[in-house]
Every structure is written in C-alpha cells, then in structure tokens.
Assembly symmetry: C2
Homo-oligomer: 204 residues x 2
C-alpha cells in the first residue's frame, strides 16, 4: 500500500473488507486504468476471492462508483467548509484553494482515479458524480462572483476564472508524488497565493 | 474520427498507414486507456490486420512512444518559438501560455494520451520523453527567472510558478471538448492573461 493511502482513508466504510476492496481498486485503477483491471485483480490485491468481492460490490463499476462518489463527497465537504470559514471573500477563497490542493496532493492516487476515470462510470452513476462536481464548481464560482461585486477580485469572466482555480488543484493529482519537493501543506499555501493573484486580489 | 483529430495531425508521418495507426492508437488509448487496448483493436480501428500494424510498429509500446514523442516534440517546438517571439519577457510568456493552451484544447484527445499515459512507456522510451518535458519546463522556468531579474514578475518561487503555469494548460486536455463554450484561441487568450497575473506581471 503506497504512502498516498494512509489508514484514515474511508474510516466510515464498513465492513473492513469493503474498505480493503476500495483501497485495492484505487491502486489497480491508478496503475493500469479502469478498463485494464479485472475484478479478479482487485480481489487478489485485497487478499480475497472474486466471489467475496461481489458480496460487497455487485460489479467493477459499482466499486469505481463507490470510490468516485466518496472522493467527490469528501472534496465537496471540505470546499463547503472552507467557503464558510470566513466572511472575508479573499480569506475564504484562499482556504478553498489550500484545502483543495492539499487534498489532491495528499490523496494523489485516489485523486487520479476520481479525476481521470469519470468516463468509465455508467450513465446513472456518472450523473450522481457530475452533480457533486457542479456543487464544487458552483461554490467557487459564487465566491468569485461575490468577490467581483465587492471589488476584491477583478477577472473578466467568473466561469473561466473559477475553472482555472480548480484546474490548478486537479492537475496536482497528475504530477504530485511522495517524492515531491514540497509538502501538501506548503504547496497548498503557495497555490493559494497564486490563485488569489490570478483573481486579481490584493494580497499582502 | 473525432473533431479533435484534424487531418493535419502528423502530416510528416509516412506512409499514410503509419499515420492512420497513430490516429487509431490515440482514439483507442484515450477512450479505454493504454493497458486495456490491444494491437488488434488498433489495427481494426485503422482498417488493417494486426500483421500490417507490426510492419510499422513492432509493438503497442512503440506506437505509444511514436504518439508521445511526436506530441512532446510538437509542444517543445511551439514553446521554443513562442519564447523567442519577443524580447519582452511578458509578451513572450503570454505567447507561450496562449500556444500551450491552444494546443491542449485543439488537440485534446492526443494531449490526453500524451499527458496521462506517460507511465505506460517502457523505461528507455520514457527517458526520451522525460527529456523533452524537461526542455519545455526549462524554457518556462528560465523565462520566469528572467522576469524576476528584470522585476516584471514577482513570484516567490520560479519552479513552483513555472509548474503552475504549465499545469493550467495541461489540465485543459482533461476537461476541454468540442462542445466547450470557448474556442481554443479565446481560451488561450484568457489563460495567457490569468497566467501573467499569477506571475505578478503588470498587464493592461
């Protein structure tokens, strides 16, 4: 199990066998891609039989959905919390970017599956995840718009700017590794600063 | 063949069968991932027999390498050209970002394979591609450093800033589609502006 998958991942998933299958799924999907991974591969990585996998997840797609939904819910929750962390729009935006970037750095293996295997989700499951994504984007866009009204941000298009802010964080999942020169916290702080500049905020 | 693969892709690749195989490889790798794609899938998408594929590419890995190397060479060439397009550091950086973003939007299917299937390259081939990537990063970092010396940029860390600038463009490959609300050109211009702000440049 790589260092990007600390024991506290999915503490709420029960029983432990389901959690182990999600961990094994993340590792396998991240390494070879969803389509090249068989349920047999995943079960064996979790030290279980294929039959035991089906007790917890009726299909490979159901396992991907569990991973993807839980990742998106986690990110939505931390973005919501960060947005509400301060009445000051600049401070709230800084906190969002820091939290978002830290999550993608710290959980880079999970984040890769969450961000890059969306296309493999069946239609109904994709809709659930797409809803969560729109929720995340809406919070960031609303905050950009609030900042524009208050005159603390100065971008020409809130939609593009919000997307660019999130893009910076998402791409961290692609390149970050446990050998990166910055800790997730240090990277989060630097990116928070860069994102605020991008939005035209006057920062210290 | 999707709209992201216009006929002018790889005009220099000869014979036409090799070019068709690269196009089919890109489509298949982008849709299902490298590991889930067989040489038979690719040959059949190109309307050829597996044996005919091997005439041009000795293996699936050789085909991925041809796609990846050519994509990286193309991007390095346009970044080099943009960097040399103006003696003014701010103008040169704007041109780099515009060109880089436009390429990733216009060629988003190719770019996805180029950016997200690096891990599937065999070691020696990976080294060739990693060299090209370092070349691209170096040009951007050197220009950030030049801007810092000239006092036109004001970031605290040139390495992180250069990476963030490129990250913005790379992530375009993930989310851009032919149904995106902005043309590659319009997106390039907006991102050029956002990247310059991130670097602390005074722009009009």
């Amino acid at each position: 199990m790589s260092m990007s998958m600390p024991a506290e991942l999915w503490p709420d998933v029960q029983p432990d066998a389901a959690r182990r299958l999600m961990l094994a799924g993340v590792e396998s999907f991240a390494r070879r891609g969803y389509h090249a991974t068989t349920t047999r591969d995943i079960a064996s990585a979790a030290g279980m039989s294929p039959a035991a996998l089906y007790v917890h997840f009726p299909s490979k797609a159901a396992l991907l959905f569990a991973i993807s939904r839980s990742g998106h819910e986690r990110v939505l929750a931390l973005v919501e919390r960060a947005a509400a962390s301060s009445d000051d729009t600049v401070d709230a935006m800084r906190d969002i970017v820091e939290q978002f970037v830290m999550w993608h750095a710290r959980r880079h293996t999970v984040a890769r599956v969450v961000q890059y295997e969306l296309g493999a989700l069946p239609e109904d499951e994709y809709r659930v995840v797409a809803d969560l994504r729109r929720g995340i984007e809406r919070i960031v866009r609303d905050l950009v718009e609030r900042g524009l009204e208050e005159g603390v941000f100065t971008v020409s298009d809130a939609h593009t700017a919000a997307r660019a802010v999130l893009s910076l964080g998402v791409d961290v999942a692609r390149w970050y590794s446990d050998r990166a020169r910055q800790t997730p916290e240090a990277l989060g702080r630097e990116y928070g600063e860069l994102a605020l500049r991008m939005l035209g905020a006057k920062t210290s």
